[in-house]
Symmetry: C2
Subunit: 416 residues, 2 copies
């Protein structure tokens, strides 16, 4: 568990990026001993006064206690502290779970010098086990003292479960000619990970953007990124993606943004979306047992919504994913996945390509089909599958990873 | 492929049942050399004049050419011959596929002495490869000469792809005091199997039941059997389940049945449903790489429809299936799968049991939780998972198998 004895994903970035400080954001990590031994398992993030928050959460009908807590407190839009722990998801823990979250918030509020409702909490790890929040007591006070504006990778490491590498990225953008910074961390791997270890991600900026605007940007930004990735179709009880603004860039002349349609936001939106996309791709690339990163493009659908459903049907198909693992350009399985999606599709108009190589057209094997060329292509690390439904102009892209024996091993052996 | 070098599923029946002849049904198998060498790959079934037919087919939007053919010809309700081949699914083969089906029907009609539209066809195996129907030419004429009323296992073997054991079962029933027989064969494994090798099943009875009645019985009967099993959530392009009646029992005094609500049908319905259930369970038990047979019961849902969706969400979850493979009573993953189903669910009312052992109640770990007892239970071959949503009276049961490394191996290495 927690990546022990599991080699780092071959899809991990060759070099970790340098992530700059975000003015107004400080953090520290610690070993609270929640479940793991000899590694950090909690991070406390402190946000300067005036920070704003937005969030999107799991659609699960059985959300974790921390998800309930965050949803409730997001209404007031302010944030001063974030506590994230790994090792225990505090999910399906009943009344005890709620008490544990409340106690965590109380401890963090004391350490940060803020109100409990200004504390946001996320937990990842085993579910159904009560989380003993008293373990945070001494730890968080100490974290608050040590809090600094880096290094981000330490924070990313503390929240890992079966992740094999920490995920931290950044972007710079200009608002009205003034530079702002965006930095974020994530852990995965997608909706999988043992005991639903959860997808968690926290993104920060010094831009002075009001909470409702942050929420609008985030809700839109996830559509093409975190809501377009899948590792195994299993949705966690704890998925949490939050975006915080400290507003510190105000001091450098960046104007206050209170309207999501403000034209001065265009560069920031692009940078934010690029950051969300990169983080979400890193989650896919660290999918349990992943050896290949798979991009599924569906074009020619009746609508964008329909295209996305077909793309997810392909990306979630165990037969497609095992074929990619076996470096097999098995386009018959793509046909199958298009057919089972339940969306408008006409077998006799369907074209399928792997990379730039067309393998099927108009409902049959392509005349130009070259087994050797496509076999060579399948040996790569980044596989692009395109299905052209030939019906309309709807399109969508989703990302996933292959399904290998290591996935079964990690998830079948987790508790034994 | 075709089960070569793959050990027989440990869930296979210890003894193959003796399946009696069905008056009016004769068949023979042959080696047409479609794809496999040194094994039978085609079966011709001859039905006496007056036989009636019903069928249910894949919901795929990309059905195979034989599925299109069967759907079209079912309208007239009569059947005289069935040709089933393995090794090539004749799916996604465009115009060539249609021509190939037409030629197969022509050859079979000649051999059987009937009209082409009285021939039903099913194909299973690789998709996208043109099927050379001329290979049936000499073979089917010879089959017609050799056709006999048994043994069923030979027919079941000829249609296997990655199946590790042939599947043939029977039941007896009484209609108006007179005995009739029902016998059927199937191949799987579910909606999985390499290159969508497809679920195919053919069931025969000598009862004089009209086609519209057969169709009503079959459409209803699949709901709790073939439409309640899943191996990996992948729907084939070729799924075909057909029910034929020869009417030969008329000679023994069995009355003609022309109304699906005829009270004299009750015993037959029970027997037919039991046979469909047994066949569908055999398909699950031969799911690729299966080591455990998993029964998922959902009770207390808002409706039966809702219960079935939740049950399928559990049964299709890779995390649930790998946990079962690892003999891990990981009820947290059941919570996750209930939560992601999108159906009404209340975390704090949810109870979960493995076998008779309650592991979670009212949204938290059961007070009586005994890890050792549940671990012992998970070592068994037949695992029953029950989720009580505590909301209403809707219930449903579905069946699946575990997800093992062998599944990935079989499906990742198929063509390499």
């Amino acid at each position: 568990m927690a990546g022990k004895d599991v080699p780092v994903s071959p899809l991990a970035p060759k070099r970790q990026p340098k992530v700059p400080a975000v003015p107004g954001v400080r953090f520290a990590t610690a070993e609270a001993g929640i479940r793991y031994k000899g590694r950090t398992d909690v991070v406390l993030v402190l946000l300067d006064d005036g920070s704003q928050a937005a969030g999107v959460f799991t659609r699960s009908k059985c959300p974790s206690a921390p998800v309930d807590w965050c949803r409730e407190n997001l209404a007031q839009g302010k944030a001063r502290a974030i506590v994230v722990n790994s090792g225990n998801a505090n999910a399906f823990t009943g009344l005890k779970g709620r008490d544990s979250v409340a106690l965590t918030a109380k401890i963090a509020a004391k350490a940060a010098g803020c109100k409990a409702e200004e504390v946001f909490i996320a937990s990842t790890g085993v579910i159904g086990e009560p989380l003993d929040a008293t373990k945070f007591e001494s730890v968080l006070a100490d974290c608050a003292k040590r809090a600094a504006d880096g290094p981000w990778l330490d924070a990313a490491k503390a929240i890992m479960t079966t992740d094999t590498f920490p995920k931290a990225v950044s972007r710079k953008a200009k608002i009205d000619g003034h530079e702002v910074v965006i930095a974020g961390i994530a852990k995965g791997a997608g909706m999988i990970a043992p005991d639903m270890a959860t997808m968690l991600s926290f993104v920060f900026t010094d831009a002075p953007i009001a909470a409702p605007v942050l929420q609008a940007l985030l809700s839109k930004g996830v559509k093409g990124s975190f809501n377009a990735i899948t590792v195994d179709s299993d949705t966690s009880t704890s998925d949490t993606l939050m975006l915080f603004s400290t507003g510190k860039a105000r001091a450098r002349g960046v104007p206050e943004i209170t309207d999501p349609n403000d034209a001065r936001l265009s560069g920031f939106k692009r940078a934010l979306n690029a950051l969300l996309l990169e983080l979400s791709h890193l989650v896919c690339k660290d999918g349990e047992g992943a050896r290949k990163f798979v991009e599924v493009r569906v074009v020619g659908a009746k609508s964008a919504r329909s295209a996305k459903r077909v793309a997810l049907s392909i990306a979630n198909s165990p037969l497609v994913k095992t074929a990619v693992a076996g470096e097999d350009a098995n386009w018959g399985r793509i046909v199958m996945a298009v057919g089972k999606a339940g969306e408008p599709a006409d077998r006799d108009r369907l074209d399928i390509s792997f990379g730039a190589i067309k393998v099927a057209e108009a409902g049959a094997r392509a005349a130009s089909y070259d087994e050797q060329a496509v076999s060579d292509y399948m040996k790569g690390e980044h596989i692009v599958v395109t299905a052209d439904l030939g019906l309309g102009r709807g399109k969508a892209t989703v990302w996933t990873c292959d399904l290998t024996k290591a996935y079964v091993e990690i998830n079948g052996d987790y508790r034994s």
